[in-house]
């Protein structure tokens, strides 16, 4: 009996992780309201614990859960008799569809759900919170921990966003082709932000943050399965895979930051790198590359290089030139300056950084003085390097990065 209970609990937990988005997206269409939909889906998962122990685990857990959750939503709506007035933004409930047990016949509404959560009328932080809550089924408490705010703050953020969706009638719809590129970009940004939030967390400091990395990868894979013809989705997944392949070497045993050039490349995850390379190639074959595919291509060249010095810097510089055209951001220009220094020498890199510093948009961004310091160090200009390292330390708030910069600063200080 205990074995059965264990197996059922595992199956339910697994279905929670894999099928939550599918079940909630389909239920929201019937419920016409995210709060009711969430409640019904929660109920369905609870009911599964019992029913699956009695009747066995269904062949298609997602379809089973969807049927139960939709039925509860319809029951609730009949009870409330608010069928017509409640959130008319959603598609009219189709009762015939509810009892359909075949998963293939259940319309996949996950894209509607994702695009609604990432609607541009919602602030980015609300998009992120809603995506975690509604698409991934993460509890508000855990979302709050991952973003270092109190649970009350996060709950208020989620409630406000849901109210706006309802009051302003943000439609439950996949945008049409004329708006798709722009709208997809918001979705990709949210997934990327989830990943980087988890990735840049102090190592081992917080399991909740490590979970964000997994959630982001899962979301990127889900999106690719739903939108197989979008090269930028492929690009994003590839970019995340390359970054993730280097996760274990990003910091040392003491949690100190390790630069790309000092990482042990034999520890990188080859399977992830191979998958990323296939995705980048597929993306470039379409001839419609955007900023994610270009960033992934750059990461790909780093991933396959035998060493930092042996990296194909001229090709990386060419990719940065392209990236700067589609994404004219000063941060991209700063990374390009590093590539310039590798191809044409540190002096050329410093010249690029000089013009970026005069531009002023990167004031307050610690990587600017950090990169400058590194180039000055390479040129043996230790006093200037020390000043730049100090400027970077004054701007950085991540502890691992602070320690790294302090160590470099100590190296540059003239011996007593």
């Amino acid at each position: 009996m205990t074995d059965v209970t264990g197996a059922v609990e595992r199956a339910v937990a697994d279905a929670h992780r894999r099928e939550w988005a599918f079940v909630l997206a389909a239920t929201a269409r019937v419920a016409g309201d995210f709060d009711l939909a969430e409640e019904c889906v929660q109920d369905a998962y609870v009911a599964a614990l019992d029913a699956w122990a009695r009747e066995g685990i269904p062949r298609k857990p997602g379809a089973w859960l969807t049927t139960i959750a939709k039925r509860r939503a319809l029951d609730a709506l009949r009870r409330e008799r608010v069928f017509r007035t409640k959130m008319p933004m959603l598609v009219e409930p189709d009762e015939a569809e509810v009892d359909e047990p075949d998963e293939d016949a259940v319309p996949d509404d996950r894209l509607r759900l994702i695009f609604t959560c990432c609607h541009p009328a919602l602030a980015r932080e609300a998009q992120v919170a809603l995506t975690l809550r509604l698409v991934c089924g993460v509890g508000t408490g855990d979302i709050a921990k991952a973003f270092l705010v109190t649970e009350t703050t996060m709950a208020a953020r989620v409630t406000r966003a849901k109210k706006k969706i309802s009051a302003a009638r943000i439609p439950y719809r996949v945008p049409d082709s004329s708006e798709l590129t722009e709208r997809l970009d918001a979705v990709l940004s949210v997934i990327h932000l989830l990943y980087t939030t988890g990735h840049t967390a102090p190592s081992g400091a917080d399991l909740v943050r490590a979970d964000l990395v997994e959630r982001a990868l899962h979301l990127a894979r889900m999106l690719l399965a739903l939108m197989p013809d979008e090269p930028e989705v492929r690009g994003l997944l590839a970019l995340l895979l390359f970054t993730d392949a280097r996760r274990v070497t990003r910091t040392d045993a003491e949690g100190r930051l390790r630069l790309l050039e000092d990482q042990d490349r034999s520890l990188w995850d080859r399977a992830a790198i191979d998958e990323g390379r296939r995705l980048v190639l597929d993306s470039f074959r379409t001839g419609r590359v955007g900023r994610y595919a270009l960033q992934a291509a750059i990461a790909s060249l780093h991933a396959i290089a035998a060493s930092y010095e042996a990296t194909d810097w001229p090709q990386i510089l060419g990719l940065y030139d392209q990236l700067l055209l589609v994404w004219p951001s000063p941060v991209v220009a700063l990374n390009r300056a590093v590539a310039v220094s590798m191809v044409r020498g540190p002096e050329a890199g410093l010249a690029e950084i000089g013009s970026l510093a005069r531009d002023g948009r990167l004031d307050g961004y610690h990587y600017l003085p950090a990169v400058r310091a590194d180039l000055l160090r390479r040129l043996g200009r230790r006093d200037e390097a020390a000043t730049a390292y100090q400027a970077a330390i004054d701007l950085v708030d991540n502890e691992a990065e602070q320690q790294f910069l302090a160590a470099r600063l100590a190296e540059c200080r003239p011996a007593a």
Partner: protein, 113 residues
Amino acid sequence: MAQYGILIYSPAPADPMDITPDYLALLDRYPAQVEELGGKIVTGFALAPSTTATAVRGDTVTDGPFIEAKEVVAGFFILEAPDLDVALRIAKLNPATRDGGVEVRPLFVWDGE
């Protein structure tokens, strides 16, 4: 259909008499564009320049708009549209977005709960 208040913000003092012929031509075309996109203007008003406004806060009466800013409310209209996506498409075409902007705000609906 949902209803939205579209608040139009223009550089202060937003004097309708300063409207250029160019801007006026765009305004003339606007209602047709609204219909084409699936919306309907229920009613709308232009306001006299913000230099004619008087603000009352508590029992203090001051000369000028309620909030001193570079842009002031120049007018508003009530838009009927099927959803926010359509309302935003319509808002983006408003000529005020060229040198000022618009705010799209759903009208409050009491749903009895």
